[in-house]
Amino acid sequence: MISQFFVLSQRGDNIVFRDYRGDVQKGSAEIFFRKVKFWKEDGKEEAPPVFNLDGVNYFHVKVVGLLFVATTRINLSPSLALELLQRIARVIKDYLGVLSEESLRKNFVLVYELLDEVIDFGYIQTTSTEVLKSYIFNEPIVVDAARMPPIGPAALFMQGNKRMPGTAVTKSVVANEPGGRKREEIFVDIIEKISVTFSSSIMLSQGRPDLEQGYVLTSEIDGTIQMKSYLTGNPEIRLALNDDLYIGRSGISNFGYSGSSGTGPVILDDCNFHESVHMDSFDVDRTLSLVPPDGEFPVMNYRITQEFKPPFSINTLIEEAGTLKAEVILKIRAEFPSSITANTILVEMPLPACTTRVNFDLERGIVGQNADFKESHKKLEWSIVGGSEHTLRAKLNFSQEFHGNITKEAGPVSMTFTIPMYNPSRLQVKYLQIAKKTKTSNPYRWVRYVTQANSYVARI
């Protein structure tokens, strides 16, 4: 049972506020925002998504920089509340096309209309875009996606938005195209977020430097098959996956790297499915059948700890040059075919606190590279475009004599990146069949793959 729902901007402004039960005080949004903003005096700890203040439980999720908040006084299931908040965000996005402060403000009447149907007297009625369609009468005022206030790509990742900016089809489920009629199309995105931790590679402070790649300590793929359907008439869809797909790794220890990468079966540790998915023929021909509801939804989430080839190798070398200077050499090598281009590669590395100045030595003749020392965070940032191999040399200057081990003060090296048309698990949608009911033109079918770094870290 939810008492209130509200959406706050990053500055703490109330964008949407709906009180369902009237048992929590009106000022809760401000109380909440103060608490979250000043969770710990030093500002270093983030407020947890659930907390209790004077008997009121506050739940919140962050979506594209906005805070979606629910309050209640009862001992509710936290998963229920947080899932609900995420769903509300998704439903609003389905309707508005773009989820942003601006689109919310322009469409607040529609948003209230949605909220009234999603929750009644604190009880969840439905969060299905499909079902809601018959209750909603306001038309969205479409916001131009390009006119959105720029949020850096890094910010999008930081917000913990598991859905990719690349998949964001900014089209409302209800608004009509400028041309007047809707385009029949369906998007299927295979999104894989990978986490890899490399052990430390060798570091020689004196003598001949020796670059060596650390080995993989842990690796995991968290994948989603996401679907967004704009098909009319709700036709049934069949989605065929790899023939050699297996679920469950019974008998195999979870992190045993048994299979060699590149070939062999795709083994999912575990997966779950959207409620519309029928598994009837899955065991026979690895096919999922479903009638996709309107709006964006995950068909299937899966998790793989099977070995895979990390898309980038990272080599780090630190050379001490006296007590006031040191040199850091970073080498990044792409391990995927050159036909694929990675976007927005960002390499970050914390440096010792006493670092005052860093001189960078970038490779010559390569465009799009940029290296920077963020003094306030004592962090090195290096952005690259494209695959192949890149090297960065950074000369560090310290404010005071440095004793002891630099590796204890610097690192680890972390990477964020997005690689379109590539997925390390080799899970594939072999075909996407739409059971045709109409004789009209063949709908557009988009199947896209993308890989994103979740936590890609090399220790030094």
């Binding site: 700890e45 659930v50 870290v457």
Partner: protein
């Protein structure tokens, strides 16, 4: 601006400066970032402006709102084409003012006038507006009744539904009479949307006027609808409404209690056999559960249609199922088989609700229970990695609970609990705790020190990686985790090495945290003193600033004075800076350490001791002064006595007290899939009684150890739970032995298990052995107790009471028997009384009340709670016969109110007992 808009140069709605938000006065002056810049440059900051906002609003409100009013009035009667569009714009404006908190209630009558339209968008906005203002303007609300009632009869089901919802949401108590008719029609409406709205509407009516709702017999209608309706959401809404109504009614009427229970245990009420065949897609689950076994099988095939319930309704039904007690194990397996596919649901709430059913149903079957753990592991891990970080956190909290209960089941999955660098701190903290919990002999080495020598690289340790982390809170937590593992293990060799390496990292927060740990380690493993002291001796006390770390360092300096060459001199330099030392804790430790040092190395320490005692006696802090004085007199009296008191031979601490008793943990487990798990406390600690939710079926005795089971299964379930503990809680042993000594404030059960008492106090002594003045403290606190009239009775010595009712001073009852009795007996006296605030003050000591009542031969069975709410269960017995009295006593320490519920074998004397109890209670505060 209008000019620009007119010529389509700018969008009329948007602020011409920032083009981000709709342009209105509030925005232009307060929210627009350009305006903010101007304010800021004028030296006025946002927080100032927040306070000035109300007056600011008043200033333009009149103009802006009266303008709107005018325009609306003009439109009200107009039927010209395009009116609706203009109205929409105006309505939007009104609502946007309403959202940002401007009072637009003055346009109420105009809004109502304008609502005579067939445009559903306009209607919706109007309903929204009316819903917002009606409650606080009952007179205005009356204006709306007419048109809402008319809309309830509209031919469009959407409008009927919406109007009914608005009508029920007005929230004006004196208008309830107008609700009954439309609601009754709504429940019978042909359209499922209207019925859905009506089902919740009944609940709204109940909150407005329970009497009206009951008089109209709506609950019965709902029940009927729940059984017959074909629409899943209608059924779900009926179910939620009924649950809430019955659980609220339960407080007042016995019948409602029965009704509520019938949801679970009285199948015949819930489902009429014949009706079942009519229902194909809805409600089977709860019907099935309640169904006799043989008949049920027929319908099992239909159960997979549970999918037709929306996912949210599934959560409600599953929660209900988890309270259901199956008749036999076959039934348990049937239910689990039917629900197994729910574990693959993408909605975490559904999965967790299913897991709760599985866990609670198999409590009595130890091996199956363990299989359930294995089965749910993968789905949980998938959920953790597939949602947003917030969703992951909620699932991870539950995983955390399970890991804590059965660490060995997860011992091979430890890599899942490795932290990722970009995870929020709250996730990392949970993961660290799980890593700590699953650390056992076989994998500790890998977790703490993933020695990778075979790969030719330097040994890396997972936790040590975190310690070196730039993230300070994370580093601290990691050190604590390493220490915790060290304290659990038998072979701590490698780990102690690690810890000592931390000290060499020369980071202030690392050093501080490690020192505290080294101190604890030394108390458990004195044999390591040599290695540790060598390293600790190298730490300059100047680099240690945090009080806790400083205290730890000083303790070591005193304790190992003979092994540390410089100890007296370091102490001396610390004493020189006495006045700059702000922490009383550090000063106390300094006093003790210097005395210890003096007793071992008198000549070197004499000077420091003199200075310390002088500073201590002049200290402004009471405790420091007292301790200095105590030492001074002690030394004056006899040095050898001082030696015995300050430096007694020490016993190594075997187990440190856990912060939570196993009882608390069990309670949290009972409340699986709720906030209790996230907060890691049972619900009574953070919710008021009336907000425990519809599922908190028993807040009374049952939850002392188990959830709500019908009477006859109580004992069985408890036995079962013990088995379960044996199996799953490898930690239970030590919990048993350490008792409650150190968790007093949180929750304790004094006479729950007599054998723990001795163990507990032993632990207590061990713990304070660090604090050499414990005896002094104890006596001091005793003295205070005596002052307050709470002297601990040496034995049960009943104070002579001028009462006809004599109680047996030595009455005993075991908690199980108590529970059973509590369930069987009806409440014979129930009253609210006030007590003297001084009495409440005395309750700051959790033992005070039980001790006090014992003096009157009223024995405490269990107690718990956290300020301001405390709950006690007492037991008393008549002196000459075995007739017993059971008391539940809920004390609110902030309002000084006490709720008493007394149950008695002999009803006729219960009133006399109540008086006796009250008079005893009221004496709590008196000397």
């Amino acid at each position: 601006m209008d000019f620009l808009a007119h010529h389509h140069i700018i969008s009329p709605d948007l602020c011409p400066f920032c083009s981000l938000e709709n342009c209105d006065a509030i925005h232009t002056f307060l929210h627009c970032r350009f305006a903010l810049d101007i304010w800021r440059s004028a030296g006025i900051h946002e927080h100032v402006m927040i306070f000035s906002q109300p007056s600011f609003q008043l200033w333009f409100q009149e103009g802006e709102v009266s303008d709107l009013k005018m325009q609306l009035r003009q439109l009200a009667g107009s039927r010209a084409p395009g009116t609706d569009d203009t109205k929409r714009e105006l309505f939007k404006k009104v609502i946007s003012y309403m959202t940002i908190g401007i009072d637009v209630s003055s346009v109420f009558s105009e809004m109502v006038m304008c609502s005579a339209t067939s445009d559903i968008v306009l209607k919706k906005m109007c309903y929204l507006y009316v819903g917002n203002y009606a409650k606080h303007n009952p007179d205005l609300a009356l204006l709306t009744i007419n048109f809402l009632q008319r809309d309830c009869k509209d031919e469009d089901p959407m409008i009927r539904g919406l109007a009914l919802r608005s009508l029920c949401s007005l929230g004006v108590a004196n208008l309830v009479e107008y609700l009954v008719g439309p609601l009754g029609n709504g429940l019978k409406d042909g359209n499922s949307y209207v019925r859905m709205v009506a089902a919740v509407g009944v609940l709204k009516l109940y909150h407005l006027s329970a009497v009206t709702c009951m008089d109209a017999d709506f609950p019965a209608l709902l029940k009927h609808l729940m059984l017959k309706d074909k629409d899943a959401q209608v059924v779900a809404n009926c179910l939620t409404s009924l649950q809430e109504i019955w659980s609220l009614e339960a407080g007042t009427s016995e019948e409602a209690t029965k009704e509520r229970e019938s949801l679970l245990s009285k199948p015949d009420r819930l489902c009429d056999c014949n009706s079942l065949s009519n229902i194909t897609s809805t409600g089977e689950l709860d019907l099935l559960l309640a169904f006799p076994h043989q008949d049920r099988l027929v319908y099992i095939a239909q159960l997979h249609k549970m999918k037709e319930f929306g996912e949210w309704a599934q959560c409600i039904v599953l929660e209900l199922v988890s309270k259901y007690v199956p008749t036999d194990s076959d039934e348990i397996f049937d239910i689990m088989n039917l629900l197994e596919d729910r574990l693959q649901h993408a909605n975490g709430a559904v999965v967790l609700a299913t897991i709760k059913v599985f866990l609670h149903m198999t409590l009595s079957m130890t091996d199956v229970h363990q299989q359930v753990y294995e089965r749910i592991k993968a789905p949980l891990l998938t959920l953790v990695s597939s949602g947003s970080p917030e969703q992951s956190y909620a699932v991870l909290s539950h995983l955390h609970l399970l890991v804590m209960r059965a660490p060995f089941i997860f011992s091979l999955d430890y890599k899942h609990f490795y932290c990722q660098y970009n995870e929020p701190f709250y996730v990392k903290k949970l993961k660290l705790e799980m890593l700590t919990a699953v650390a056992n002999e076989s994998n500790t080495y890998e977790i703490v020190s993933a020695n990778a020598q075979s790969f030719g690289s330097i040994p890396v340790t997972e936790l040590c990686e975190y310690v070196a982390n730039v993230d300070i809170p994370m580093a601290r937590e990691s050190i604590r985790a390493v220490g915790k593992i060290a304290l659990q293990q038998y072979d701590v060799n490698a780990i102690v090495d690690r810890l000592l390496q931390f000290l060499e990292m020369e980071k202030e927060h690392v050093t501080a945290e490690t020192l505290v740990l080294v101190k604890d380690l030394l108390r458990k493993y004195p044999q390591w003193s040599h290695d540790c002291i060598a390293v600790v001796g190298n730490i300059s006390s100047k680099n240690v600033q945090e009080p806790k770390a400083k205290a730890a360092l000083i303790w070591m300096l005193g304790e190992y004075a003979q092994d540390m060459q410089d100890s007296p001199y370091i102490l001396e330099s610390l004493i020189e800076n006495w006045d700059e030392e702000h922490s009383a804790e550090v000063r106390l430790h300094l006093l003790t350490a210097v005395i210890k040092c003096f007793l071992r190395r008198p000549p070197e320490t004499q000077k420091a001791l003199g200075a310390a005692l002088a500073s201590g006696l002049a200290d402004f802090h009471q405790d420091v002064r007292d301790r200095a004085l105590f030492y001074y007199r002690l030394l004056q009296y006899d040095v050898s006595v001082a030696e015995r008191i300050v430096n007694p031979p020490k016993q190594a601490v075997s187990v440190f007290a856990d912060t939570q008793s196993s009882e608390i943990k069990d309670r949290i487990f009972d409340e699986f899939n709720s906030l209790s798990v996230v907060y890691q406390k049972p619900s009574y600690m953070f919710t008021d009684k009336e907000h425990r939710g519809p599922f908190a079926f028993s807040e009374d005795l049952g939850n002392l150890s188990i959830g709500a089971e019908p009477d006859d299964t109580v004992v069985a379930a408890q036995r079962v739970e013990e088995n379960d503990k044996d199996l799953l809680l490898s930690t239970s042993e030590k919990e048993e032995s350490q008792g409650y000594a150190n968790n007093g404030s949180a929750y304790n059960a004094p006479s729950y298990n007599a054998s723990t008492t001795t163990g507990g106090s032993q632990g207590h002594l061990d713990l304070v052995s660090l604090d050499q003045t414990s005896t002094a403290h104890t006596t001091a606190s005793l003295a205070i107790d005596e002052l307050l009239g709470l002297g601990m009775p040496a034995g049960p010595s009943p104070a002579p009471l001028p009462s006809a009712l004599l109680l047996n001073a030595k009455a005993v009852i075991d908690p199980n028997a108590f529970q059973q009795k509590w369930r069987q007996l009806p409440v014979s006296v129930s009253q609210d009384i006030s007590i003297d605030p001084r009495g409440v003050a005395a309750m700051a000591n959790p033992q005070a009340l039980p001790q006090h009542m014992q003096a009157y031969s009223i024995h405490c069975i269990a107690s718990g709670g956290q300020a301001p709410n405390f709950k006690f269960f007492f037991f008393a017995q008549k002196a000459e016969e075995s007739s017993a009295y059971l008391v539940e006593c809920v004390i609110n320490s902030s309002s000084c109110k006490v709720q008493l519920k007394i149950k008695a074998d002999d009803q006729s004397t219960s009133q006399a007992f109540a008086e006796l109890f009250q008079s005893s209670l009221s004496k709590l505060s008196l000397p």
